[in-house]
């Protein structure tokens, strides 16, 4: 079936550094998402993105976070600077429609901030 690819699968960085998580969504999908999952907790919505713009962001989407998808390339989540509490698995997802609830997820990028 359709796949969402996430790069890297794991990343370890020092607090204060910048990190970019990359997502290659399903090719004909128009809506893109990031979810965050801290170990032992549920996946939580961070942000959704459509037509080059952020549609909605949660309170977890701090000022240090940004997303973009320049010219149909990777959909990226950048964190600058990182903090210890940013350690989590970040899941990218995409969908054709904006309200179907059917999201295609990647396998996640595990971020460890030391």
């Amino acid at each position: 079936g359709p796949k969402v690819l996430q790069i890297p699968s794991h990343q370890i960085i020092d607090m204060g550094q910048m990190v970019t998580l990359n997502c290659d969504p399903v090719s004909n999908h128009l809506y893109f998402y990031w979810y965050k999952q801290i170990l032992g907790q549920q996946m939580e919505f961070l942000v959704n993105f459509y037509n080059g713009k952020v549609m909605e962001k949660s309170k977890l989407f701090k000022d240090q976070f940004s997303v973009e998808r320049p010219d149909g390339s990777y959909f990226t989540l950048k964190i600058q600077p990182t903090a210890l509490e940013d350690s989590a698995v970040y899941f990218c997802a995409s969908s054709r429609g904006g309200n179907t609830g059917q999201l295609y997820f990647g396998e996640g990028s595990k971020l460890t901030v030391l």
Binding site: Q42, M43, N48, Y50, F91, N99, Q102, G106
Partner: protein, 113 residues
């Protein structure tokens, strides 16, 4: 606020026995309910979605019925298979919410021979 509760963190079953994973929710309006499944080292993927017309969704032998009176959407299967071992997430969203899913914490189903 809106939330999804999955009370069992781990369910261990013998192959062939029935499966029931609990899901209850709190919501402001009438939501759609979903079950997502994540097998080991794979991405979460949609298993079931509730219908608006009280039909019972089914997929791969799994089914779930949305009971608005009890705010529940329990996942059931008549006979567990070894390949059903996975992490199961219940989630809700609203038709107008732009696919902002609210997830439960997940239930790990372990099916043994």
């Amino acid at each position: 606020g809106d939330s999804v509760t999955q009370t069992e963190g781990l369910v261990t079953l013998t192959e062939g026995l029935p499966v029931m994973l609990n899901c209850t929710y709190q919501s402001t309006y009438s939501p759609f309910l979903f079950w997502y499944v994540q097998h080991l080292n794979e991405a979460p993927k949609l298993l079931l979605k509730s219908f608006t017309d009280n039909k019972r969704p089914e997929h791969q032998g799994f089914h779930a019925t949305l009971h608005k009176s009890s705010s529940s959407f329990h996942l059931q299967k008549s006979s567990a298979q070894l390949s059903d071992s996975a992490l199961y997430y219940c989630a809700l969203s609203y038709g107008s919410s732009g696919n902002k899913l609210i997830f439960g914490i997940g239930t790990l189903l372990s099916v043994k021979p």
